[in-house]
Symmetry: C3
Subunit: 471 residues, 3 copies
């Protein structure tokens, strides 16, 4: 078995002079608390604080970054990793899944999955051997043993990870019971906030849209008979979320189109939607209007709006039939923001308190559209690279693409967007290291003074995300 | 107050070996004259040679790079920077604007605005303190004092900046009085040339197009009653510009589409345009034909054609209502050249003396479209990164994207495209440094011999722009 | 005359620490055999093993990378390089062409053409002077002399180049006589395999499509009267190719669209195609279905499918009139894969033995579409950068773009895709050097252990292309 060690200078630039600067910057931010304003860890974990059942359910099953590569490059079936199994795995099944991970460890070379797991194994679970066929059982069983220890319960990890704020992502109809439980628990000192995610409710051509709308009406105690009552229901549910700590709403549709339609047209389209007779193209149009109205609501209630359009969901239909959504078969497409967001930005882009954070998996928009837009509109912030591009090289490309015309002040701060709880520290660590590497490059090339770089490095993980997400 | 110094190796590569090479290359070009074949400095400044009135009117008001970041990241209103005020500012207003710049200096970290101002302050005005709340008045007042000195009049600066050629951008109907005045002034030894910019006259659906066309006819002494007479008017105005030194025409439309329509169709569309009944889509079609005919005229009169399409102008409608055009709320969109330019390139791309310089803010076309096109067509040159991407990292990306398939010989040389007169030296300095950094990388990796790199570095700021712009 | 030398560390990173690692990695792969699973060298050269006639016909005429730059940047006409001349050149004409190359050597600075020629001259022909006006004749005549030597016959070079497998590209109707001849020649120990390229046969709106279809029917001994008989003819010709060693089929259309149409619609469209009455848009639709069926056939016969869409062929119509196709006037366009390939990937993407290798000249799809797709679908591999982007910087960008979400295991291995036989070694050498440079960067930044990098470097030129292309 080969030893596993984490080099203190990992991800820092190879040039010795630049590395020295980067290390000095990184030391300033290394131990600072984690602000995670968007993610997918279940609030229940922290509310209930139950021990994690087994290594696979905690580390493999929910992590589609890992699943997808094992599926594509190693021929593994997702069931073997616990996906779709519907519950914790027994020790044998969990151990078998770990063998699949470790035996195929080479497929992760150079990927962030390697970086994340090496850190999770080493720093969270104290593993000191590199994953491989011969170390699989040892790694699995060590983790399994640790999980029985109270120090590995969710709340203990939350504290050990130095998490200051953690956001979940929630259905507008959710009663947010776990969030309420946490709020009412005097022993809980952390901050877990819900996020309002109304995507499905804004797609009138969905086959389940009328059911969803009825549910929304019930949750909001509003009889949704027309567009104004729909909007009122949205307003109430947003208020409910805000009451329980929410600071943002999250939106992902097939594109970023916004529209301000006339009242009469909206009434007609909404009536057709309620009647179940709306066409697909009219549905797109109505959704563009509804999305725009989420911005109007945001101006009123102050919730930050995050947007990450342009993904072909469930690209592999047999996978989605077999396992449902969110198993890793979503694939980005190109995206357009300059024209699409114009109605929203033109109306609200400089409004007091309006914050719109735009994420993309299409890197071409960083220098072409997002930096120029964020360099003009006060409310627009460029989201950090996430999902598919939340790794070392892409984060570096992001800084190199947006800094010229949006500086640091119009960027969101890092977003981990993860279901993989234990990987939260390393994901933020990677981002901090790369930001320090980027800043160190500016200093080494005499483009920025060291004191300016130091202030910026700290701001990017403290004041900046707090300002952008109103924390 | 912190000291302000410019490191001699700024923007050169951090790796010590590569930096040594880069420095050696940069020394060859550091002091060479500036060729600026496209920009927006008013010819009147040089013709009249009046002292600049105040620091803000000279350095802040016309510079939308600075305005837009102060607007978006610091909440400044453009009026506070003198925009739309319609004249020079009094000392207090000018000082207040400088305070806004200096107090918010941190928003420019890592942006070219920081680089440019640091150099302008240090090298042009002898400032030795870093901008900040506490140094704002000192910086402002030092500059104000300098501006009263004859050494800071436009012509003195022109000489001190070692400008060899400076192009302005002008309306086709302009009498170019300032250019004529300069030509007739025996004490003026510089070279300021006009540029023919007919955009508005090629957009028949514009509400002011018929007025513009009448004005064009008057200026050209042609009765514009049909397309041939329109073309004749264009021909005459181009000749007028050429007579007064113009070497190029400049074109920016919503896309790069060119068309060669049939004569009858053109006659019909043009008649509708004159009648004020042309539709928007017919207007686009006619514009594509008219743009193509500008290339036909270029083959005849030898004026170089520059093209920089694909910007959503006046994206923020309230800003354009309040301040008019060109305040910084223009935002790029993606662009397509391979198909769009085919009619023009197929007809004129290899014609004797036809030069087309294409600029883009959509970096994706560099390796995909522009380098392959310029690698085939003799008349096509790839414009340097400008406007939104005229900064260190983007210039480096440009060289890395186009050199493989278009070499250096098919690139335009640097274009500063600026209204900020005092920033011309530093903008060229940045470009020279980055080109030397790129060349040094090639030498360090043994991809180019040192003598080849040295020749190339010099050519890029001397023979290359002269060849491309026929200077 | 300046000396010509190849630095042993060429293309390796400038940073000394990283270079040392890169050199160590490169030594592991430097001398390994060449696997070339896609290219354009005529099989006849190896089958007949005749001496090459003259330096220009061997080195310049077939190399459109060189031709196009001489055309665009040096004003050379392609005839002067032997294009369209229809046969070997006499010594004078060949010498004149070399003078054009050498006198204009500066236009290739920083391009891969410079790298390739320097290596071909130095390593293949023992030239020790740098190309230039004064060395042109010497270089030409030295090469001409060498070509008379049996050591420079095709088979001798094939062995000297350490080629293990070389693929040609062939028309579906080809009898593959040269391939058969090689197979039946007991003295031939190499491996030259044909590739099935049916593009023209899948474009029903082409003016020659009915002739092609008749020829296909004759070659397959099938009476093509409807779509099923067309498919049967395809199946038989693919089998014929496979019999003679083919491992792959190659496809390039204007886009990547795939469709699964209904049987009745296909029958109607195909009948119109046979009748010569199909419209252009119906032809596109039918082609999308036919391309999809090539995947269906691939699942049956196991031939690997390579796809490289989105090029505007013969962009310069006067050049194609004068010289025919493939002279260098093809220009890439943007491409879309996520939606276009969905029908094919959804149906076959995880099927046993289905391999689809996708190439692009639009680099934006690497991180946005191809890495995410290849990170999910088992049969999808990301083709190495080729044609227009097969040079140092682009290869590095490729690795930086795809490794994060597809690792190394879902990449194709290097493809030289060349007609320039003598440049095969240096093209693979460049790729190996850049891959080692990339891996060395990962090691230097502690993102990968040295033993992992070493294994990966070797795999990328041995097991990986063998696996992907089933060699």
């Amino acid at each position: 078995m080969k030893p596993l060690a984490l080099h203190p200078d990992r991800l820092l630039p190879a040039d010795p002079g630049t590395r020295t600067i980067a290390r000095e910057l990184f030391e300033l931010v290394d131990k600072l608390p984690i602000i995670s304003p968007h993610g997918h860890v279940p609030a229940e974990w922290l509310a209930d604080n139950l021990p994690f059942t087994d290594p696979t359910s905690l580390l493999l099953t929910p992590d589609h970054y890992t699943n997808r590569m094992l599926h594509s490059a190693a021929g593994v079936e997702l069931e073997e990793l616990g996906v779709g199994v519907g519950g914790p795995l027994d020790a044998d099944a969990s151990r078998r899944a770990f063998r699949l991970l470790c035996e195929n460890w080479h497929v992760f070379r150079g990927t962030p999955v390697q970086t994340w797991f090496e850190s999770v194994f080493h720093d969270v679970f104290g593993i000191r051997v590199r994953p491989g066929a011969e170390s699989a059982d040892l790694i699995h069983d060590t983790i399994a043993e640790r999980l029985a220890d109270p120090a590995y319960r969710p709340r203990a990890l939350y504290e050990r990870f130095r998490i200051e704020t953690l956001a979940t992502t929630d259905d507008p109809c959710s009663d947010l019971a776990a969030h309420r439980k946490l709020r009412e628990d005097p022993t809980w000192k952390g901050r877990v906030v819900p996020t309002f995610r109304p995507d499905a409710y804004l797609e009138p051509a969905r086959s389940d849209w009328r059911d969803l709308t009825r549910a929304l009406g019930r949750a909001a105690d509003v009889d949704i008979v027309d567009y104004p009552s729909h909007l009122e229901a949205m307003r109430r549910r947003r208020a409910h979320f805000k009451e329980l700590g929410a600071v943002s709403t999250d939106h992902s549709h097939v594109d970023a189109t916004c529209e301000r339609l006339g009242e009469a047209q909206v009434a007609t389209l909404f009536a057709r939607a309620l009647a179940g007779t709306i066409t697909w193209s009219d549905s797109q149009l109505l959704r563009a209007h509804m999305l725009n109205d989420q911005a109007a609501l945001a101006v009123q209630d102050g919730l930050v709006m995050t947007l990450h359009p342009a993904v072909a969901r469930n690209h592999d239909s047999s996978a989605s039939t077999r396992y449902g959504a969110d198993v890793g078969a979503d694939v980005p497409t190109s995206v357009e923001f300059t024209r699409s967001l114009r109605p929203m930005l033109d109306a609200y882009g400089n409004s007091d308190g309006f914050h719109l954070v735009v994420f993309t998996m299409d890197e071409t928009v960083y220098s072409r559209e997002l930096a120029p837009l964020a360099g003009w509109y006060r409310g627009l912030f460029i989201g950090a690279p996430w999902w598919f591009i939340d790794e070392t090289d892409a984060i570096m490309r992001y800084r190199r693409s947006v800094t010229g015309y949006a500086g640091f002040a119009k960027t969101s701060g890092f977003i981990d967007d993860t279901r993989a709880f234990c990987s939260i520290p390393v994901r933020h660590d990677v981002s901090r290291r790369v930001d320090c590497a980027f800043l160190a490059g500016l200093v080494a090339e005499h483009r920025l003074a060291m004191d300016e770089a130091a202030e910026t490095a700290v701001a990017l993980v403290t004041t900046q995300p707090k300002k952008v997400f109103k924390l």
